[in-house]
Symmetry: C2
């Protein structure tokens, strides 16, 4: 953290509740007068921010369902208009090789330092597609209609990631409207296929590398460990998906007339899948699977310990009968530092009501492996294929092929400048330093930004991720507010860290009112 | 075979083709003048028999699909009317405890022997329900529209069992129309739930045991090994179905956020299923599964050898990569004499297009076990339940419950009188004795007749069963004709064996014409 923290001014920007949490050990930095005005403006406009969430969530932009494509495109149109209102420029809906376009916008007029140094450019990432809503019957409220209740917003995408990207947009808007400018240049890249593993993002980045060039990237997708405990992610697992097919015959067969003497593809598949884990250690048996995995370091173990993990609480929350995973690793180590092989789908024969006594000709499974540094999707896929080839019995044909776009694991170096700025924001908001953690989940864009754009990338999302991908997805209203403030603050901190922030370059509320045509709508 | 066979008269009743097959070693019996007339009548009416098949197959009487119940009931109505036309009496649609009724009809005026001995009563069994037709796209012709092509009839149920029951009906009709009487009393029991494993048949038989009393039963359901090779079944396997459920959590979980440290129900299920067979010997590992199984006898082995089995041909017919089954037994022994445990359905997690990286909360499988004497459905279900309880890991909940009505295995003693009569029919039709075989499949009614009605039961079906339950079900036209003749002959042979057949009691075509109002329609 390159900036000397001070306690004095942070209090101004904090709510009464947060103020109480500003314990004596809290450290912070000077907040500039413009930032203080921006934070005040954010507090005044909460009705408008509620409307944003309601409007954007109303589009059922489910990327996994082709039928929903028109809604997804309508959500993109809405975003273009909303970015325009916020004061962004050069809005564009950029096609990918798939059906889900990227929404792009920029504002590149940040004031230079007195010495002429250009302000840094920040690539802000988010996604406007959402997960399917099924099972619909488990929702207490209509998924695409935001309901605010008991301090939460409910609806598909309120957290992942419509709420997240709106927080960034609203912070940028507040700076532009309040001061007529921004401490940094920004480029918004809002994609529409994150929930289907961003299969076309890498070639998109390659094609638009020039336009997307930035000094660093911040992801509005991601979350916090708890409302009262901030965290910064040092890594996400990657992922590779595969479809495993077993064929044993050219036709379905009568289980009585032929059964007992012909291969059953369900049984072959079950044996193949069962054989992928050691029954005693729960380790993955695929040859070479762990070859490139880095050992868990002492620092990693300290982070795990600092984070804490309440097994009993999770068992109760999820209705588990126990935790189980690779022997020799704690639950958090299993999720943060170890790869997985999960059978996420399995199907063969008749699966409706009752029974049909037919031996099917084929069965299939969907496998999802989470990857850790230095594993790669292509290498793991290759090893899975070799495993399946080696274990397929002579009386069956087995094949394994890639399913969905793979994603590399992502890590953020502990000394990343953006991470230091993000840590300052956490301290400003909660009065104590963030936890350093890792995520078991995957955001394909983050590793892709590092690889294709060579840009330092930091995860900067503010939801609690406690119901994402599930029925009754929710966003704590307190976190929606906090996220917006966090984005406002980090834009300043990044300019300060870059040595380009000059308070004199920013106007006042009065001076900005003339420029921000959509102020106080 | 209690009747001295002679070659002389059989030739009259055989077609030119069958005549050529009347090899020197062929043996047969005297055919009575009335039987000869009946057989000639059967040859004359083939257009009408084509119409019967077309009309009955047109009802999509799929018992597995509740939506199809009206079609099933319409098929029952059609049968009642057709039985009336054939000269049967006391037609009735009798309800079962399920939605699928039994069609009943009788004719009980068979002439007594000169010494006053009553003619035997034969219970004729068949079923008018059919299997579902999916996958529809694999049918070359509409499944419920009979198409005659290249010597075959095509359509759902042409073989199993609409063609089969029509052959019996047509033979009875021919006797009544040609001679005004029948050599034996007959009772038709045509059920509508065989394809869902006759769950309500046993209580039905118990309730109607008096009305259904008979000296023997013949099943029009069943088939022949080949067009040029007749066979008689000495046994059918029984069956028991079970649903296996594995639950590991109260909610589906994100495979990244939670994966690696929570149980995966697909993996638990795969391990449970894989563990049900020994990977080396392919024997079933469920404790006590083979306890009651009888050893394969020398006579069984002679039957297997006499039957012959062409592994290469079956591999080619079914598109197999090889045969596989319990070590130490040949393919036919595996199917005729050994029990099975087949996973006929398996499902867990997302199984649509693409991938959804979610660990489901539950997974399930459907298991079908074929049973051999002296196994019972209840005992095997109990052993499966104990196996599952013993092998379910602590971090999951596993349960196994009965699925569908179980069926006992059925055997026909080698010295059954009806079997002897059936063997004579085979000799008369093909000039050589039938093979003695067993079936791997199940017809629940046959064991139920033995148990509930205490009646000697023989399988007497004539299709080739080569596409039953599958797309493009077909019936060789030659077998439809042969089945009809076979039924006409066996009705006489049973009366002869019973000592009640008296040629003088039968009228001629002329005399019968007045009685058979629907002759030559």
């Amino acid at each position: 953290m390159g900036v000397q923290p001070k306690l004095s001014k942070c209090l101004l920007a904090l709510s009464t509740l947060a103020l109480l949490a500003c314990l004596p050990q809290a450290q912070s930095f000077d907040q500039s007068a413009p930032l203080q005005s921006v934070l005040k403006r954010l507090e005044r406009q909460s009705d408008r921010y509620d409307a944003d969430l309601t409007d954007l969530v109303a589009f059922p932009s489910v990327s996994a369902l082709p039928d929903h494509l028109p809604h997804l495109l309508a959500a993109a149109d809405w975003l273009v208009e909303r970015l325009r209102q916020a004061g962004l420029q050069n809005m564009e809906i950029l096609p990918t090789e798939g059906p889900h376009p990227v929404v792009y916008a920029e504002w590149l007029s940040a004031p230079r330092a007195a010495n002429g140094t250009a302000a840094p450019t920040v690539l802000i990432y988010g996604h406007y597609d959402v997960q399917p809503v099924d099972p619909l019957e488990l929702w207490d409220t209509p998924p695409f209609q935001v309901v605010k209740r008991d301090g939460y917003y409910y609806g598909r995408g309120v957290d992942d990631d419509k709420g997240g990207l709106l927080e960034a947009l609203q912070a940028v808007e507040a700076w532009l409207q309040e001061t007529g400018t921004l401490p940094v240049n920004v480029k918004f890249l809002l994609e529409g296929q994150e929930e289907v593993m961003s299969p076309h993002l890498t070639p998109f980045l390659r094609r638009h590398a020039g336009r997307l060039a930035a000094d660093l990237a911040l992801s509005a997708d991601g979350g916090q460990p708890a409302a009262d405990r901030g965290g910064l992610s040092l890594g996400l697992r990657g992922v590779v998906g595969a479809q495993l097919e077993v064929v044993t015959a050219g036709t379905d067969m009568h289980s009585g007339m032929k059964g007992g003497a012909v291969a059953n593809p369900n049984a072959v598949l079950a044996a193949l899948l069962a054989g992928m884990h050691d029954p005693a250690t729960h380790a993955i048996t695929v040859q070479g699977f762990y070859d490139d995995v880095l050992p868990v370091t002492d620092q990693d173990r300290r982070d795990v310990e600092a984070y804490g993990f309440d097994a009993e609480q999770e068992m109760s929350d999820l209705g588990l009968y126990g935790h189980v995973g690779e022997q020799g690793y704690s639950v958090l180590e299993q999720r943060w530092h170890r790869p997985t092989l999960e059978v996420v789908g399995m199907s063969g024969g008749f699966t409706g009501e009752g029974i049909k006594t037919v031996i099917p000709a084929r069965a299939s499974a969907k496998i999802s492996c989470r990857l850790v540094p230095k594993q790669t999707p292509a290498d793991i896929l290759d090893k899975l294929q070799k495993h399946v080839a080696a274990h397929c019995p002579a009386y069956a044909r087995c094949s394994l092929s890639a399913l969905g776009g793979g994603a590399f694991p992502w890590t953020n170096p502990r000394d990343s400048p953006a991470l230091a700025a993000a840590a300052e924001v956490h301290e400003a908001l909660s009065g104590r330093p963030p936890l350093f953690l890792r995520d078991g989940a995957t955001i394909p864009a983050l590793a892709a930004f590092q690889q294709e754009l060579k840009v330092d990338t930091t995860k900067f999302g503010w939801g609690l991720s406690d119901k994402i991908h599930a029925p009754n997805e929710r966003l704590l209203a307190e976190m929606y507010d906090k996220g917006r403030r966090a984005w406002a603050i980090i834009l300043e901190r990044l300019a300060v860290a870059h040595g380009t922030f000059d308070e004199a370059a920013f106007g006042t509320a009065g001076s900005a009112a003339g420029k921000g045509a959509h102020d106080e709508l």
